[in-house]
Amino acid sequence: MSAQVWIWILVGLTFSLYIGIAVWARAGSTKEFYVAGGGVSPLANGLATAADWMSAASFISMAGLISFSGYDGSVYLMGWTGGYVLLALLLAPYLRKFGKFTVPDFIGDRYYSDVARTVAVFCALIISFTYIAGQMRGVGLVFSRYLEVDINTGVVIGMLIVLFYAVLGGMKGITYTQVAQYCVLIFAFMVPAIFISFQMTGNLIPQLGFGGQTSDGMYLLDKLDGLHKELGFHLYTDGSKSTMDVFFITAALMVGTAGLPHVIVRFFTVNKVSDARKSAGWALLFIAILYTTAPAIAVFSRTNLIETVSNKKYDNLPEWFHTWEVTGLIQFEDKNADGHVQYVADAEVNELTVDKDIMVLANPEIAGLPNWVIGLIAAGALAAALSTAAGLLLVISASVSHDLIKKMIKPDISEKGELMAARLSSLVAVMLAGYFGINPPGFVAATVALAFGLAAASFFPAIVLGIFYKRMNKEGAVAGMIVGVLLMLFYMTKFKFGWFGGGAQEEWWFGISPEGFGTFAMLVNFVISIVISKFSPAPPQEVQEIVENIRIPSGAGAAQEH
């Protein structure tokens, strides 16, 4: 069967599965809509969290990103996994014990202030919108590359599917579709990785094959370092970023991960505090499977690519090279007209540009794998993008219907009315996300980094201090969040978009890139929060009792209204 037929079959099958689950898991109450009724098992929640977390970027782009940056790519690997340790140890169990529906719920109640709640809602909305636009774009890209439909049609198909199960099923529908989506995406990611690891190193486990020997007896990583040296690139296993910057970016990604509302909210769906801890364990385990395989794929495909194209005659290159050239992901310009491909670090001489996404997307063809594997990759990439989009959508709709309408604008709204509001706001959110997917603002890539920086600079200190520092009051928390977010926005827009006079790399504060600045803004937030709270009145007695209460696991009960 042709690859095209396989793609249609596998994408069709997985999509009908998601829709089937959505119909089965319809939400009947706000509690089911926001937190899936609160009775999700730790294993199912771990699977769902993993799918929620791993986006189109993790699935399609990360291996390629590492492939082109070598050691520097470690910031993503450590940053996007290490955050789960913070989440498991510092946030998840306590937020579960607190037992409300959303992150602004916690901020608003703990800091006994609607100002704090509003700031939190605002942060949750920006973070989620910047993130979801990227996901819809990812869905569109996968459709256009694999199913040969127009990219905009792809976005619309993706919107309809997400709309169907997110609006109908709420968190309950999303949770169980995410479980299925994790299985699809991890299978799709691992199958080609195992094949290629075996082909190149004779080892079936990519994590080991990565440090193994190729058929000529050389260690794979040494061979790749050698190729890099020969072509003028920096050594694959060495970095080109400063240690300081690597440190700050890793920290910003870790803390940002722990502060992302769509990840935190998943821990509200389990039954008790010990289940919240357990699901963090499962989640990181499932995430680690992909995150330890990605650097292996990066090395395999980088070596494969260089060996296949470097100094080879253009006309003799394998068929996949020309197929992907059509999509524009590979571009070849014969500058010295010798008919051979020169792929080197020197931009003047280099004749080949390769998009990072190719490392995962074209992997099956590069390694000569059967057609069904190509279909699998398409289904896996869609699962990754859709699961994350749905999780974000829920945060947006809960922020509007619960935090804004129910908690501030119209507290006497009925259960039915709130559920309707939640569904309507997710409908509007999908439309908006789809719009941004079709007309992507030029700064999408920059804003995803911004989302992590913002989460690190706003939520993380407010939540951690709220749990671990009883004396923390609203004055401190609100000032900290506002300064943290504004500082982050200022730095990001200055150095990414050239506002406020712009600035070159030499002008970065302490040599910290905008990607790593979230760490700095977070530290500023901590300092301001603590200093201001020292000079203003202690929080009321009942709030101090809330803090004592969330520190003890027993008596959590289900997540509820009040």
Binding site: T81, G82, R277, G281, L284, L285, Y291, I552
Partner: protein, 84 residues
């Protein structure tokens, strides 16, 4: 649960957090970033050790840390009778 018991429980919890987060910091920021070059002088099979920590080892340790935390806390909860 009495107030003194709560204080004891919380103190032990904080002690665990301190230990576990120290390991978390050492394997990622220590082995994977600050001392990566020194560790790269050591080789394990095809891997330079610092590079391995940054792209594999730190992640394995993270998973183990969470499971150790789950075990420690479930024991602690039982000891103070706050488990469910």
């Amino acid at each position: 649960m009495s107030n003194t018991n709560l204080k004891e429980y919380w103190k032990e919890n904080l002690k665990y957090l301190l230990y576990l987060l120290s390991v978390w910091f050492v394997v990622s920021y220590g082995c994977g970033i600050l001392f990566v070059e020194e560790l790269n002088a050591i080789r394990i099979g095809g891997f330079k050790l610092g590079f391995w920590f940054a792209q594999q080892g730190a992640i394995y340790v993270f998973v183990v840390l969470i499971y150790v935390y789950i075990r420690l806390m479930s024991k602690l909860d039982k000891k103070y009778g706050v488990d469910e």
